[in-house]
Subunit: 214 residues, 2 copies
């Protein structure tokens, strides 16, 4: 069966977002620092239609993260926008502009029903109000044999972890402190729900940890 | 000047001890799991007068941790024992028996004055009630040009970090969750007080991160 693969960036003190998160700033204060390793990469810039950039030990990790992915599941804050504005005169269509970097079906966990949204380049957003298992089932069907990427945020990731539904977990650990914010593992408990560390790659400003079912 | 070098073992979710810590069980419930990487090592077993054991990628890290150390500073819970019993009929002399593995002067941060304690093999425990700077000053003098090891626990480590007194920090990160307990970095804030990641070594069941002033 196709795998559910979680990918997150986390600080040394366990935060995946800084304090004062909101739908306008889902990473919270300082949270962007968690992703500093990815922005300079040529592979990342290409995904977003930009030229230039560098190749380093993170490149293969980033490429692997998105290889063989046929669909994505994400939490509602990751899609962003105020629910009240979703169906208003100028609806919120996500952070990524008219041509999002997914190029495959994306399923958004939400309590607010909304019609599917088809954007350029093959990315469609489907809004699922039936819970995490319904979203995963739809994503698996859409992925058509490929794997499903779980993009976060923390709350969505936590729900899938606790339900033992995550088959692989990539943590890109930034050697920084955020001090406050949202912790990935609060409430997950004291075991990794079947996951074990299987690989460590140290790169510039980040350590990539790969966990899998063994 | 001689460096102050901190060494800790921490879980993926940032804990250095499990819940229900006490002077009788300073690692808390499950906290021993943080140290599972060290017990099988021949180098560790030798320090504790035991034979056998294995050599792996953690061996060099453990040897480096204790190389060129002339004195140790530790918090009061790390020394252990109930203060009321320190000067009683059968005084508490630490966790390590009559021949502790330090073999150099150890300075214990405490609010309870006690006469120095000289044990076998060159280990002396000196109880310092004057605070972290006084303890460090005494340890530096005793180290006689060598470095000072900061053994923890979390509270002592935090105080030295926040005071910008830590020159090197080794974190042995266990890829496990504890879920509850004492977090190393709670209250430290959102910066590493001058420290930066300078080396990552992945070994069996642990990732060794070395931070230093750059």
């Amino acid at each position: 069966m196709s795998k559910l693969r979680l990918g997150i960036s986390m600080s040394l003190d366990g935060f995946v977002a800084g304090p004062s998160q909101s739908v306008d700033n889902p990473l919270g204060i300082g949270g962007m620092r968690l992703h500093e390793w990815v922005f300079p990469l040529r592979a990342f810039r290409q995904m977003h239609g930009l030229e230039g950039g560098e190749v380093n030990d993170s490149t293969a990790i980033l490429e692997e993260t998105f290889a063989n992915i046929g669909a994505t599941v994400m939490g509602r804050n990751m899609f962003g926008g105020h629910p009240g504005s979703w169906d208003a005169g100028e609806p919120w269509n996500g952070w990524w502009g008219n041509n999002p970097p997914y190029h495959h079906p994306v399923f958004v966990l939400t309590h607010h029903a909304r019609a599917p949204l088809a954007l350029e380049g093959g990315t469609t957003f489907t809004f699922v109000t039936g819970g995490i298992e319904a979203a995963l089932e739809q994503a698996r069907r859409a992925a058509n044999g490929k794997d499903v990427f779980l993009a976060g945020g923390a709350n969505a990731a936590r729900q899938y972890l606790v339900a033992n539904l995550v088959d692989e977990m990539g943590i890109s650990l930034s050697p920084i402190l955020l001090g406050q914010g949202e912790r990935q593992f609060d409430g997950v408990g004291s075991d990794l729900h079947g996951l074990e560390l299987v690989r460590t790659v140290a790169a510039s400003k980040v350590i990539h940890l790969k966990f899998a079912r063994v």
